[in-house]
């Protein structure tokens, strides 16, 4: 198990956002988390990354407890996130954004090879490396957010709504690249509104409702589960 989340709870003030969730992710998997808005999907990712402190529960990464570490330390354990809304540094150049992704890495050769790989995955970023990131199109910004998260050579990559606001063609392209990234050995946790495309990509899925995990199965089984079809795949057929 690469990631082991046990009874994770998060509170925002007095409001409980996560009521004790358990996740188990094996190395090399793509795991998707489905759920409506406010179900706690992003909170789960942010708790794993250390952006929000858990109020209870434990998170182990390769057996090491990380739930008490600050966010910047968790990056050193090779967990990175391309957050919801991309959150690229708009007034910095594409290159500077990517350099910041490698902020924790000391190995220059490693950085160079990551950069070369990212430019291979997203040739568009190479063309625009000197441009301010804020001037990129939505799709390019998403590429940058993912590329930036890859710069630290993550073992576990967390992707929050990578297709949000993208045209279907671009979304498909992003998902194709996510598969490529996964095939190179990076474990992926994917939060996605577009459940169909996410389940087609993922090996397994979790379904969240109001801060709890209500279902867990292989992606194929979830795609055929009538409840999931009803709630997240827009009814029968399709």
């Amino acid at each position: 198990m690469i990631l082991d989340v046990r009874n994770l709870q998060v509170k925002y003030g007095n409001v409980k956002a996560l009521h004790g969730i358990d996740l188990a992710v094996e190395p090399g998997e793509i795991v998707c988390i489905l759920g409506a808005n406010g179900a706690g999907k992003s909170t789960t990712l942010n708790a794993i990354c250390g952006l929000v402190p858990p109020s209870a529960g434990e998170i182990f990464f390769n057996g090491i407890p990380i739930h008490r570490l600050p966010a910047y330390k968790i990056v050193e354990h090779k967990i990175t996130q391309a957050p919801e809304g991309r959150r690229i540094f708009g007034t910095l150049t594409v290159q500077e954004n990517l350099d910041l992704g490698a902020f924790t890495s000391k190995n220059r050769d490693r950085m160079k090879s990551s950069l070369a790989w990212i430019f291979e995955l997203f040739p568009r970023l190479a063309e625009r490396r000197a441009q301010l990131a804020g001037t990129l199109s939505g799709g390019e910004q998403q590429m940058l957010a993912i590329g930036r998260a890859l710069m630290a050579n993550p073992r576990l990559l967390l992707l929050d709504e990578p297709s949000l606001g993208l045209a279907p063609v671009l979304a498909r392209q992003i998902f194709k690249t996510i598969r490529e990234i996964n095939e190179s050995g990076v474990t992926v946790i994917l939060v996605e509104q577009n459940a169909r495309i996410a389940l087609k990509l993922a090996h397994r899925g979790y379904v969240m409702e109001v801060g709890k995990i209500v279902m867990e199965d292989t992606a194929l089984a979830l795609l055929e589960n009538p409840d999931v079809v009803q709630a997240y795949l827009g009814g029968a057929g399709g």
């Binding site: 952006l51 910047y72 959150r87 910095l92 910041l100």
Partner: protein, 301 residues
Amino acid sequence: MELFFTQLTNGLAVGGIYALIALGYTMVYGVLKLINFAHGDLFTIGAYLGLTLLASLGLTGYVGTAGGLLFLALMVMGLVGIIGILLDRAAYKPLRNSPRLSAVVSALGASIVFSNTIMLVYGPSPKVYPQGLLPTHVFYLFGLPVPIMRIIILATSLFLMIGLYVFIQKTRTGTAIRAAAIDQGAARLMGINVDRVIMLVFFIGPALGGAAGLMVGLHYGQINFTMGWIYGLKAFTAAILGGIGNIPGAMVGGLLLGVIESMGAAYISNAWKDAIAFFVLILILIVRPTGLLGERVAEKI
């Protein structure tokens, strides 16, 4: 022509000092969206510490005037920088997750504590710097007088400003500061220790302010415990003029404000000097609230 030129060099020297102080406001604002109203008092502390060190250590005796002053400046900058970090720890850090107004009130309180502490330690009457440490002679450029002291002040400010600019633009740490100013959460996701960045900003800003205080002492000869108020306000105006949060903006705003004020004093009325500076503030807030170079800061993704 001679009056114009004199006022220009004078304005640039004062403007350099405004710019150095303005950088402290703008850097803290950039990262924390907080106006550090105690910053002007850190400038005053720089001036007083400079005086104390000058008097007690007799630095210039050992290594010559230039070397002594350089060492003095580094000491003042280091000490004021540390006071800046302590200020953040005591007055702002506990309020990091509170409404913004709480931190502003805390800043005003810290300002009062600082200025009263200076008064209690050094007394309420103005203090006089030893004279003759900086060369006072004047050389002539195309027949126009250039006091060498002003050149030294301007050159020192420019040196510090350019140094800061290069640090912010070209180094890894500088890029981390810029990233934290844009989005603290995203900066954390990059592995940046944002608390460390804030600490650094609270060192650099006050250190530059302290250097400005020392220069005012050396240049004008007299300091008092309330001088941080008016210098702080002017520098704050300069930061707004250039676009708050924007480092080159603070530099341009400071120099520009110094020159406008100095020209106004000569051609309109010396008594109206301060009024002119604040008229500029009101004008910029009406016409271009983001400041001269401010649009890049206001940009949101």
